[in-house]
């Protein structure tokens, strides 16, 4: 993990004496504070006061909102005051210091917590600018630290609410210092290295959004919340809308069309908000991505730690040949969000981008026909069980529809099983290898050979009879393992040996 030749807390390289000059901040190693303006931002967003909401609900229930407007106004004022107080306290008790060897963040109201991240454990720095922060000229800095087994929320330090210049200074300093030996990285070298654009978002790609599950979920959830909210309002507040005549088929049809159009529009808008002016550039040893309309997100990944990438296509995306690309980076927390290299785009573009990260291992090798049988059986099994139960229900209770549902599930199982089989594939190339699986979201992982930190081969009784096996490449990045499902048992030893660096995988070879 750590380079054995370097001490874990390296001395600051000479000639790196910038930083202390920014707006009269305390000298090196001194504790800094975030900008006091953040108090206003946190008050407005109820950041700290949000935790009090569960406590407020029963209170409101006891007092009741029936007294009318005064009670509501008083409550709002009280909450705002509370929020202001909490935000001010939070600001007062928060401090950070980027010393020569480590970043230290001190916080906590009563129980003080001090988090220290040694500089060589810093995996990436993300500078994001939510809308309100932008109004006040502030940014939020997330420092990503490599951590093996601790929870995801402990892997990062968040310094919320520093001035934009200070945020940029933190980013360049933390990342510049991490660059291994050689000429001391100075401010000019870190600030203006050559840039190479890897990908740029084309606004036409937004049209793919209605076919992508994750962009559809947000508007659907919003509609759900709205309905629940309307349900909970007192009856007097709900405007009296005439109940539409639901028995009229035409009304239903029009409503359905309108709903679909609105949903599609919402998905496009959602995708635009997240991905607005997305750009991926290589700057020195890092890949930098910038995106977002309201919240600008600025993420840096270290190229040396990239072990490969995944290309994933959802069911809807496959119809229009769209795909997304994620980088697989060792020791990166929240890899799904941070590792995104192409949020949405044409498949061809995605493939070109993936090739720039890792060599092309060549076309996929299909899995044997036994794998197709196995996928079909598995897809049909649930339908057949449902049909059998339905038959029983028809015979005993006269529920013919149960049989019909079972039959429909069985019929749908055929394309499902065939689709799942078509997704399967693997291939070992000269310097990289790839595996692919999945139907609802088909994911192809392409990895460098050195990425593999272990192999796991699984074989169930049924796989044993069909002479198949599932091979998982264990990787210290992404989801931790990428599987070639239902390979021919005879190919396993050859594939694992060809797909890992060094000779150790030869241990698996049959004698």
């Amino acid at each position: 993990m750590t380079d054995p030749d370097r001490p874990p807390w390296p001395r600051r390289p000479d000639g790196d004496g910038h930083g202390a000059a920014v707006d009269g901040a305390p000298a090196e190693g001194g504790t800094r504070r975030t900008s006091p303006r953040i108090v206003l931002v946190h008050t407005a967003t109820f950041r700290q006061a949000r935790q009090l909401v569960p406590a407020l609900i029963p209170l409101v229930a006891v007092i009741g909102l029936d007294d009318g407007l005064t009670a509501v106004v008083l409550l709002a004022a009280a909450i705002t005051a509370l929020s202001l107080g909490a935000a001010a306290l939070g600001w007062w008790r928060f401090g950070y210091a980027d010393g020569p060897g480590a970043v230290v963040v001190t916080r906590g109201l009563l129980a003080r917590s001090v988090r220290t991240v040694p500089n060589d454990r810093v995996r990436g720095v993300e500078v994001e600018t939510p809308l309100l922060h932008r109004v006040f000229g502030l940014v939020r800095v997330r420092v990503d630290a490599a951590a093996g087994s601790v929870g995801a929320d402990q892997e990062e330090l968040v310094i919320d609410g520093v001035l934009r210049a200070e945020g940029d200074r933190l980013r360049t300093r933390l990342l510049a210092r991490r660059v291994p030996a050689g000429p001391a990285p100075t401010e000019d070298a870190a600030a203006e290295p050559a840039e190479e654009v890897f990908a740029r978002f084309d606004n036409r790609w937004l049209l793919y959004a209605p076919l992508v599950g994750s962009y559809l979920v947000v508007p659907l959830a919003a509609v759900g919340t709205l309905f629940r909210f309307v349900d909970e309002l007192p009856d007097g507040l709900v405007p009296d809308v005439a109940e539409p005549d639901l028995s009229d088929l035409r009304v239903l049809g029009v409503a359905a069309v309108v709903a679909v159009v609105l949903l599609a529009l919402a998905a496009v808008v959602g995708a635009a908000v997240v991905n607005w002016r997305f750009r991926l550039v290589r700057r020195g040893g890092s890949l930098v991505s910038v995106r977002g309309l309201l919240t600008r997100r600025h993420t840096e990944l270290e190229v040396d730690r990239i072990r490969g990438g995944t290309l994933s296509e959802g069911l809807g995306m496959r119809w229009v040949r769209a795909a997304r690309v994620n980088a697989l980076v060792t020791g990166l927390g929240q890899a799904n969000r941070r590792g995104q290299l192409l949020p949405l785009g044409p498949r061809a573009e995605a493939e070109v981008l993936l090739r720039r990260l890792v060599d092309d291992p060549g076309p996929l090798v299909r899995h044997p026909p036994a794998a197709r049988r196995r996928r079909l059986v598995r897809a049909l099994a649930s339908g057949l069980v449902a049909a059998a139960l339905g038959g029983l229900a028809t015979a005993t209770l006269g529920w013919w529809w149960a049989l019909a549902v079972g039959g429909a599930l069985t019929v749908l199982g055929v394309p499902l099983g065939l689709g799942r089989y078509r997704a399967l594939g693997h291939r070992a190339g000269p310097r990289s290898f790839t595996v692919r699986s999945g139907w609802l979201v088909r994911e192809q992982a392409v990895l460098q050979r050195r990425a593999v930190v272990g192999w796991q081969v699984r074989q169930s009784l049924f796989q044993r009879r069909a002479r198949l096996a599932t091979v998982v490449a264990c990787v210290g990045a992404g989801s931790g393992g990428y599987a070639a499902v239902d390979m021919a048992a005879g190919d396993v030893a050859g594939f694992t040996a060809a797909a890992s660096s060094g000779s150790w995988a030869g241990t698996l070879a049959l004698r």
Partner: protein
């Protein structure tokens, strides 16, 4: 085992000690007692004309089958399947019963080596060696080695990891 062409990879060379069978039998007995107590409570406390009368004899027979399999069959079968090996370059295990899992981790990618001894394991003088890597799925556990063997293996692995360690991720 090599004559079996359905096997995807070769099996590790060394089998576990016989004490592991005793441990697995004990686990099976404890499990059977636990389920037996649950079912006994069900039969005793749910009135005779309960919701699904069939359950009154289905559940006890299921427990009986479980007891026979978990005490009489599974420990011996597992002992035949489970194997392990430490080679020049890697740690290699085979575990499982109906579904078999072979796991191979190169010594150069080992991050930590743990030795743990559970309560039952202490009764039988056994220990588990866990070899962890940077991947959450790339963990090798060698179950139920004799305690002194486990300690020797762990020390040996830790020493060799120091020598060959590269970036390990």
């Amino acid at each position: 085992m090599t004559a079996d062409s359905a096997a995807p990879v070769r099996d590790p060379a060394w089998s576990l000690s016989r004490s592991a069978i005793g441990l697995w039998v004990t686990e099976g007995v404890l499990g059977a007692l636990f389920y037996g107590a649950l079912v006994g409570a069900f039969v005793l406390f749910v009135p005779v004309g309960g919701p699904v009368p069939v359950l009154r004899w289905v559940l006890p027979s299921l427990v009986a089958v479980y007891a026979v399999v978990a005490i009489g069959i599974r420990p011996w079968y597992r002992h035949r399947v489970h194997r392990w090996e430490v080679t020049e370059e890697a740690v290699y295990t085979l575990t499982g019963w109906l579904t078999r899992t072979w796991t191979l981790v190169p010594i150069s990618r080992i991050q930590t080596v743990d030795v743990t001894r559970g309560v039952l394991q202490q009764l039988f003088g056994l220990a588990t060696v866990a070899v962890l890597t940077a991947s959450s799925q790339g963990t090798v556990r060698v179950w139920h080695l004799e305690a002194d063997v486990a300690q020797r293996v762990a020390d040996d692995l830790a020493r060799r990891t120091e020598l060959v360690r590269d970036e390990a991720t």
